[in-house]
């Protein structure tokens, strides 16, 4: 992020905000930016490592003159990736060569601090607790809560509406019917969540949280 300061910029904050409202920390480590798409209003916090450089190599069309840039990580809207997490596309060795596969993260996904994510797909309204490891090629469906310190084994499919925890992770319960419902517009920006200080609901709309990140 060392840009020659030709013109006087606004006072530097922690985050760089893009036109579509993405907030990317200046202290995050993002490699291969061309291969990463952010849906808008997505927050990338400090010390997050996005490995966009690990992109699929096979799909590149060599016949046409212009090469299309392959996507390695695509992240939806209002998704929050907390400090110290690593997002690394999954890879597989085939015929002696390492191949990376593009990974997709949906909308309103919360990834807690210090996670290592290698899932092939994470659907919307997923809450991932802190210090979680998600091994390669995991598929996480909608409305899933992953408890802190879980290790989700490779190739696992987590059906929608489940609570997952343990090492290796297993389905330990169901999120209630009220998962992600913010309860009739509770005002005041306080205590909407499980009864605490948070002004947002796990698995719900993360817009409030994104707005509060500064």
């Amino acid at each position: 992020m060392s840009r020659p300061s030709a013109r006087k910029a606004a006072p530097k904050g922690e985050y760089i905000e893009t036109d579509s409202g993405n907030k990317v920390s200046r202290r995050s480590a993002i490699t291969g930016t061309a291969n990463i798409t952010l849906g808008g209003r997505t927050v990338i916090m400090a010390d997050v490592h996005l490995r966009g450089d690990l992109h699929p190599t096979r799909a590149v069309p060599s016949s046409s003159g212009k090469e299309a840039t392959p996507t390695s990580i695509s992240i939806g809207r209002c998704t929050v990736i907390s400090t110290g997490s690593v997002i690394k596309p999954p890879s597989r060795i085939s015929r002696g060569q390492v191949h990376y596969y593009p990974m997709k993260i949906g909308d309103n996904v919360f990834i807690g601090p210090h996670c290592t994510i290698s899932a092939i797909s994470i659907s919307s309204h997923v809450h991932i607790g802190e210090h979680t490891t998600i091994q390669p090629f995991v598929i996480i469906k909608e409305n899933v809560k992953i408890l802190p310190h879980a290790v989700v084994p490779a190739n696992m499919v987590i059906p929608s509406g489940s609570v997952v925890g343990g090492r290796p992770a297993q389905v330990v319960g169901e999120v209630g019917e009220g998962w992600g419902v913010s309860g009739g517009g509770a005002g005041g920006g306080l205590g909407v969540g499980g009864g605490g200080e948070k002004s947002w609901v796990e698995g719900g709309d993360l817009r409030e949280l994104v707005r509060s990140v500064k």
Partner: protein
């Protein structure tokens, strides 16, 4: 599922309502009289409370009973079965015939329960045509079926292949082959016994070859036993199926005939043969297992050699389909258990409370009546001392809910937000001293207040008539009997908590009999609401609905909640 502090749980009183009648009868076990029951405060440390406390998201609301419904007071009805691993729906007929496990390629590791993958064991220098042989391997603990000597020829249809291969690679005979073999062995044995009677001992070589296999497997024994019982039942049923006695119990038509026998008086006179008593299994071929001490000796020898690590843990044993295995070389991959998608009904009025869409892939609901939309949400937050800095800067150290200071009065904000479209009158009540071994003092400074209706969100923005509340004065604006702050549909009041001491400071050293999680400060709060609402359309009846416009009735609702503040720190 531990939640971060602070959190609020809501008590569903369905269970207590049901048991009061029973408990009063048993005066010896429950000395409380029904009057006491009303006076009694809710004790969150009571072991029974575990079963009645739920987070608000898990509760439903029956609009006909006007009551909260928890997991225990709803009836579930299964809408569909599906495999959580391949997400295919399994029709109910298949569930009935094939059981509640996935019959595709979904298997879990018998050691760690992680989902297994089909991997190739192909030798790169000598590739095979099919790419095989294949094994099931666990990506998490690296156990694979190669350890128990199972390899597959194809990478599809694992269930069919696995059902034919025993551990070690031997083929499992099908039920038909089993039947044939049993017949053959029986004939051999019969002829042998006849021969034995005639000409002393003369072993037939074919019978001996089978004996070298060791004890028969669980499946063999089961098929032998079931064949034996079937045979016994067949012997009981007479040749004439229409005779009034000696009935095949498994057929529903004959069962109805039995019922007729008992109801009609005419057939009673008919003489009935006494049925011959059924015999029990008497040999291995009939499914009898005789305890063999040598099997135990072998098992003990095995533990001596390879130690405990070769034995199975109870959970691993439970996951297996045959319950009596002991060693890790007997493990079989566990087929994935199916999940269900359920709708829920109120247990008392049978109205549907939640009904998800039929499709497995859909996460939407056709009907969903949440308690969230009917019950105010309580939440707690630490109140930074307002006298020192009225607007706490963002950099202020966050309050650590895991280390509450014993004996120091701490102020918290109790925030109540109203989801219904009527203004509500709220009365809060809490025991002065929390139940449990650690006694903390709790004071709600303003236990009675109003909360506005949940009207249009824009009322807030358009500047409604609410005056902002100013907090002034020496004590930082905290006044008894006054609310702290309010908004369109929420009100917050101050609650003062003096966390108790983990150990009595006056007591002797070494008194440490606190249970697990006894240091969590939980406050039971009784919430009572009063509001006016439209009379239910069903109660009102359609005829007079137009005449009186919007008949109103006074409603009241009351429930216990438990607010967990945090953990009390060691002094």
């Amino acid at each position: 599922m531990a939640r971060p502090f602070p959190y609020t749980y809501y008590a569903c009183d369905c269970f207590d309502n049901k048991v009061t009648g029973v408990s009063t009868k048993r005066a010896s076990t429950q000395p409380q009289s029904p009057e006491d029951e009303d006076e009694r405060t809710f004790d969150p440390k009571n072991p029974r409370s575990n079963y009645s406390l739920y987070p608000l998201e898990h509760l439903l609301y029956c609009e006909d009973c006007l009551q909260v419904r928890c997991a225990r007071c709803v009836v579930e009805e299964t809408i569909a079965w599906y495999c959580p691993s391949c997400l295919f729906e399994v029709p109910s007929s298949v569930v009935k015939s094939d059981g509640n496990r996935c019959t595709r390629n979904c298997y879990n590791c018998p050691v760690c329960m992680a989902p297994m993958t089909v991997s190739s064991l192909e030798d790169p220098t000598d590739p095979s045509a099919s790419g095989g042989p294949w094994i099931l391997a666990c990506p998490y603990c690296h156990w694979s079926t190669a350890e128990t000597g199972i390899e597959f020829e194809k990478h599809t249809g694992i269930t069919a292949q696995l059902s034919r291969i025993a551990n070690g690679g031997k083929l499992i005979p099908t039920s038909k082959e089993r039947d044939k073999q049993r017949e053959r062995q029986k004939e051999l044995e019969n002829s042998k016994s006849r021969n034995g009677m005639l000409s002393g001992s003369e072993d037939s070589p074919t019978a001996d070859s089978n004996k070298g296999d060791g004890p028969p497997s669980h499946d063999d024994l089961f098929s032998n036993l079931s064949a034996f019982y079937k045979q016994q039942l067949a012997a009981q049923t007479p040749s004439n199926p229409f005779s009034p006695h000696d009935i095949n119990f498994s057929s529903p038509s004959s069962f109805s005939r039995i019922m007729n026998l008992y109801s009609s008086t005419t057939s009673k006179k008919q003489k009935r043969e006494k049925p011959t008593p059924m015999r029990e299994a008497a040999s291995v071929l009939e499914g009898l297992t005789i305890h063999d001490a040598s099997v135990d000796a072998v098992a003990i020898e095995r533990i001596k050699q390879s130690g405990w690590s070769s034995t199975l843990s109870p959970s691993q044993k439970l996951a297996q389909s045959t319950p009596n295995m002991r060693f890790d070389n007997e493990l079989r991959p566990v087929a994935t258990l199916l999940h269900t998608k359920c709708g829920k009904r109120c247990r008392s009025c049978r109205h549907i409370l939640s009904k998800p869409e039929n499709k497995i892939t859909s996460t939407r609901y056709k009907i969903k009546l949440l308690a969230l939309h009917h019950i105010p949400r309580l939440s707690l937050r630490h109140l930074a001392n307002p006298s020192t800095n009225p607007v706490p800067p963002a950099s202020a150290p966050t309050f650590n809910y895991n280390e509450l200071k014993s004996g120091i009065p701490t102020h918290f904000l109790l925030h109540l937000s109203n989801p219904i479209f009527e203004p509500i009158k709220v009365t809060l009540a809490t025991p002065q001293i929390t139940p449990g071994k650690i006694q903390s003092r709790v004071t709600i400074l303003c236990p009675q207040f109003d909360v506005g209706a949940n009207t249009d969100v824009w009322d807030d923005a358009l500047g409604s008539s609410l005056d902002p509340i100013r907090h002034q004065g020496g004590s930082g604006g905290i006044e008894a009997g006054k609310i702290w702050d309010r908004g369109r549909n929420w009100t917050s009041v101050v609650i003062e908590i003096v966390p108790g001491f983990l150990r009595d400071p006056l007591a002797e050293e070494g008194v440490d009999d606190l249970d697990e999680d006894e240091d969590i400060l939980e406050i039971p709060i009784f919430v009572r609401l009063e509001f006016e609402a439209d009379v239910n359309a069903e109660d009102r009846g359609l005829s007079d609905s137009r005449g009186e416009r919007a008949a109103r009735e006074k409603r009241e609702e009351a429930f216990w909640t438990v607010v967990a503040v945090g953990r009390i720190a060691e002094v």
